[in-house]
Amino acid sequence: MNLHSSFTYRKVVDRGMAVVCALCFIGAFIPLISVLWLVVSNGAAGLSWAFFTELPKPVGEAGGGIGNALVGTLYMVGLACVIGLPLGVGAGVYLAEKGDGTIGSTVRFMAEVLSGVPSIVIGIVAYALVVIPMGHFSATAGAVALAILMIPTLARATEELVRLVPGSLREASLALGVPNWKTSLSVVIRTAMGGIVTACLLAVARAAGETAPLLFTALNNQYWNLNPSAPTASLTVAIYNYAISPYDDWHSKAWTASLVLLIVVGLLNIASRVLTRSRLKGAR
């Protein structure tokens, strides 16, 4: 009798805890739906051709867009890719191919720890590296900050992808008399290429969504700019400035700009997912 009731009690606890754990899902799901729904419902009304192509207008004037901010983000992320992608991917290949020694594990540990360093701190570093020698804020400084942010995460992602390549492929190539370097480049890395492209897309998506390191490196700009040594507007800084302003019109612009940003980041994420899936199918 006593045993039976304790068994029922244990069953109840088991079911109860399963339900509690399932309910935790709500904690992740409600904020997600809330953010997405509010950005879409508050931002969709402001979408127009002019929003993408025009310069911002001063307070009180209707219309205007964020064209310069959109171009600025693309420009700086592009510049950051030129520096960050080769270094990040290269460090990843090093870790996968030669990273088993003491130096390798030090580099790996450093990459892991650096990927958790706050982006605002990287902003100060880019300020010291570029803004102080130049004497003024610039697109280059913003791009350097974004590039430094890309390197550690990209290195770890690339390493894992290169390590997924089966050893038999490498051995087959070596057995045919192909030198080590050629085996690495045209067999191992080529096989992992799809995955590396995916990792790069995710790194670009992350960089496009960064705000903090741009605040005092690229600053902002009211006009079009493609000069690497001039301050540059960006989508994220525009959202921030619009959001903390006291004007209702600017608030709705912040929502619309957020919608644009989420679409850009979302497309990059979807593209990487599609690539991953097709790669997996190809491997089978």
Partner: protein, 327 residues
């Protein structure tokens, strides 16, 4: 360059085309890779060096202890004390950990233990999406949705029923420690869930099956096999989440209220380390002011560096566990 050199040499000298340590192509390739790997260490060095360089003017004016313990932040009179920012960062991070960790562990257990494997995989998608949303969008959402909601429903309710606790006193403003902590909780949730799931998955199936075979319910198996095995890794996940919470800038800047005070009440507006750097760095004119902000950045860097290092050690130790057990 490496390609051209090696292929032009290869036909002439049969030796050069063969695999081996003396191969020119190999030497160039290895050297390039090594240099790229070392770049990560160089970047780490650059970060520390440049932070210290910018912070140097501060060291001439203040001692480290005086900087950390002073409550007064007055750029006009060149007086800089970090205490309100340290306090705000700690309080908001603590709130976020208290809110996020139970949910994250529950969710991790559900994904790895209770849900069918297929459902578990589907459930990780919304968590990943949560991680992909840019910080400034969270800030916007916090400013216009979470803050009014806290001001109109949550804070009056907390004040009415738990007002005897000093942390729930004062006027319900909305902007403040509680708002920042709540938004941070949402932002660190994906990190804690993802790492927890990773370490929970490393629990050897045999341990769990042994518990089940002895008549344990699923929940008892979780408590007896999964939790003890992955405890250190879950602590690592929490530390990683804490590291993210400490350094999160934009969302916090937009909802914490930006007032350099120290208040016991969570309803009060405060300030955090990243927020003050974000707000004042571009407009700081004196070297000492820039130095003080970089000094705050250095504190932030050192703290997150140590937290992440500790977290990595814990997580790697748990992940390496199974091979030792199996072997």
């Amino acid at each position: 360059m490496a390609d051209a050199a090696a292929s032009s040499v290869a036909p002439a000298e049969a030796e050069a085309g063969h695999p081996g340590p003396g191969n020119l192509g190999d030497r160039i390739f290895n050297g390039t890779l090594w240099a790229l790997g070392i770049m990560v260490l160089v970047v780490a060095g650059l970060i520390v060096l440049n932070l210290a360089l910018v912070a140097r003017p501060l060291a001439k004016e203040h001692s480290l202890w005086g900087f950390i313990t002073s409550r007064e932040w007055n750029p006009i009179e060149d007086h800089f004390g970090a205490l309100p920012f340290l306090y705000g960062t700690l309080v908001t991070s603590a709130v976020s950990i208290i809110l996020a960790v139970p949910v994250a562990i529950g969710l991790g257990l559900f994904i790895t233990q209770f849900a069918p494997p297929k459902l578990g995989r589907v459930l990780t998608i919304p968590v990943e999406l949560l991680a992909a949303i840019p910080s400034v969008v969270y800030g916007l959402w916090g400013l216009f949705i979470v803050v009014p909601w806290l001001r109109e429903s949550i804070q009056p309710w907390l004040g009415k029923h738990f007002g005897w606790l000093p942390i729930f006193t004062g006027p319900p403003i909305g902007l403040g420690y509680l708002a920042a902590g709540a938004i941070l909780a949402v932002m660190i949730l994906p990190t804690v869930v993802a790492v927890s799931v990773e370490v929970m998955k490393t629990t050897p199936e045999a341990n769990r099956e042994a518990a089940l075979a002895l008549g344990a319910t699923k929940w008892e198996a979780v408590m007896m096999a999964v939790i003890p095995y992955s405890r250190a890794g879950i602590l690592g996940a929490v530390l990683l989440g804490l590291g993210r919470a400490l350094g999160e800038t934009m969302a916090v800047t937009m909802v914490i209220g930006n007032s350099p005070d120290i208040s016991l009440s969570l309803f009060a507006p405060g300030y955090s380390l990243p927020a003050v750097i974000a707000n004042e760095f571009a407009e700081a004119t004196s070297n000492v002011h820039v130095g003080a902000l970089a000094g705050l950045g250095l504190i932030l860097f050192a703290t997150t560096f140590l937290l992440n290092a500790a977290a990595r050690v814990l997580v790697t130790a748990v992940q390496k566990g199974p091979s030792r057990v199996k072997g």
